[in-house]
């Protein structure tokens, strides 16, 4: 299990990196944390002719949190984002999801943006981006473009990144006041990719009724499945919501496949259960948020 040979590029600046990426085009692969890419290389399931290692590129590791949300640079490790108090304050879902990403040692090296670009439908961070309606900033020699989550994930392990482009950052928007989030998942082993997992965001109105409720589900389709359940949940307080109807709505909104770890039926059922748990948790957080405000 040794990686195949490749031409190695270790650019020191973003400009250099984009220059190399332009040159190597579709034959190039970007190496950031490597926690998904290097296993594929070691198993020789991927054999890029060129590897563009961006670990030396200055200025890509920033985690910037503001009232609008959190911008995460391409070299920000999961662990750095998880530890960032400012990021957790601006968008609590980040930390809630990151503690479910693999194991702490993997999070020391793996990057949030890398996980988005890898676009594994079983992974947590794509679901977070999808739920929040965040975006990924792609740079190339031709300039930059910001791609919204809905367009970014194009299929299983497929994203909107084009040859010659580098995902330089991602943006996770903050939620309005009186909002709460939660991430619930069931994995076969702690730290594994989830058999089912649901990120939820709930926003309450002035009377603490559910004004908006949305989930993003992992492992139930080619891309993170976003289901808006506002109409089923609200406008009612969480305590009197028809959670069975919510679970049914979520089950209807996803289209899982069976695999060696779970049947399609179980995944669908589980997603409904986890959606209700996550939404109720999120609503609880939102009401606390509302009281604090």
């Amino acid at each position: 299990m040794k990686p195949p040979p490749f031409a190695y590029h270790g650019p020191a600046t973003l400009g250099e990196a984009l220059g190399v990426l332009a040159e190597v085009g579709p034959d190039g692969k970007v190496l950031a944390g490597g926690q998904s890419l290097i296993p594929l290389l070691n198993m020789r399931l991927a054999a890029p002719a060129h590897l563009v290692d961006i670990n030396r590129v200055a200025g890509l590791a920033a985690v910037e949190a503001g009232p609008d949300g959190v911008r995460v640079g391409a070299l920000a490790r999961h662990a750095a984002v998880e530890r960032s108090a400012a990021a957790a304050a601006a968008q609590p879902l980040l930390r809630q999801a990151l503690r479910l990403v693999a194991h702490p040692v993997i999070r020391n090296r793996g990057t949030v943006v890398g996980s988005l670009v890898h676009a594994d439908p079983a992974a947590e961070m794509p679901a977070v981006l999808a739920l929040l309606g965040g975006s990924v900033r792609l740079a190339s020699l031709r300039g930059e473009r910001e791609v919204g989550a809905a367009e970014f994930f194009t299929g299983p392990m497929e994203s909107a990144v084009r040859p010659g482009e580098l995902a330089v950052s991602s943006f996770f928007p903050a939620l309005p006041e009186r909002s709460g989030t939660a991430f619930h998942e069931v994995a076969r082993r702690h730290g594994d990719y989830a058999v089912g997992g649901v990120a939820a965001a709930v926003t309450l109105d002035d009377d603490f009724r559910i004004a908006a409720a949305k989930v993003a589900c992992v492992s139930v389709g080619p891309v993170p499945a976003v289901v808006d359940v506002t109409a089923v949940c609200g406008p009612r307080p969480a305590a009197s919501a028809d959670w069975d109807a919510v679970a049914a709505a979520v089950r209807d909104g996803v289209d899982p496949e069976g695999d060696i770890h779970a049947t399609a039926g179980y995944r669908r059922h589980l997603t409904g259960v986890l959606a209700v748990r996550a939404l109720r948790d999120a609503a609880r957080v939102a009401s606390r948020d509302g009281e604090a405000a």
Binding site: M1, Y8, P11, P39, V105, I106, N108
Partner: protein
Amino acid sequence: MTGGMGGGIVGGMGGGVDGGVGGDGAGGVVHDGRHEMGHSVTLTVNGVVRRAAVPARRLLSDFLRHDLGLTGTHVGCEHGVCGACTVLLDGEPVRSCLTFAVTVDGHEVTTVEGLAEGDDLSPVQRAFAECHGLQCGFCTPGFLCTVTAFLRDNPTPSGEEVVEAVSGNLCRCTGYQNIVRAVHRAAEIQAAETRAAETRAETGASDTRAAGAGGRTA
């Protein structure tokens, strides 16, 4: 078999030519596929500057084991799941099988060989032996590195935190119970040593050297 030579043997005896020559540093080196260029990689490993010229694809695990001869770091899966190859990169535990040596050129690495201070085992090493936290010992270096960093950052962990801390490392022998016990024991030893060091520092406050030499380095 087609394309071969008689008796199954092809090629020369292969000796003499060592892959790791030439190369011009980490930035933008190109090879040609089958005749790979070497990249000069310099690491500070266990406090010692080590340098070797290796192909870009050399995994850090192989670099440590085969290029530097530090075979204490073990390789159990080469896809990042088992954790046996965990080393400390700039103090943080990482999978050396999911890291290219060339990527971490210029950085600091601590391996299991660097955990003891001379002949004095670290608290974590002592605790693993004391609590029978290892059987075949193959996964042990990864656990030791992981736990060393964990207890540095969290010297008084809860039971749940301990289990979480070692939950990325597979062990096929121990059933983990004694490993978990060893982590708690290591925290105890570490705390006792820190207290002892503080006492020494207080009593020898006039001697700045004694104060500095007190605790173990983290």
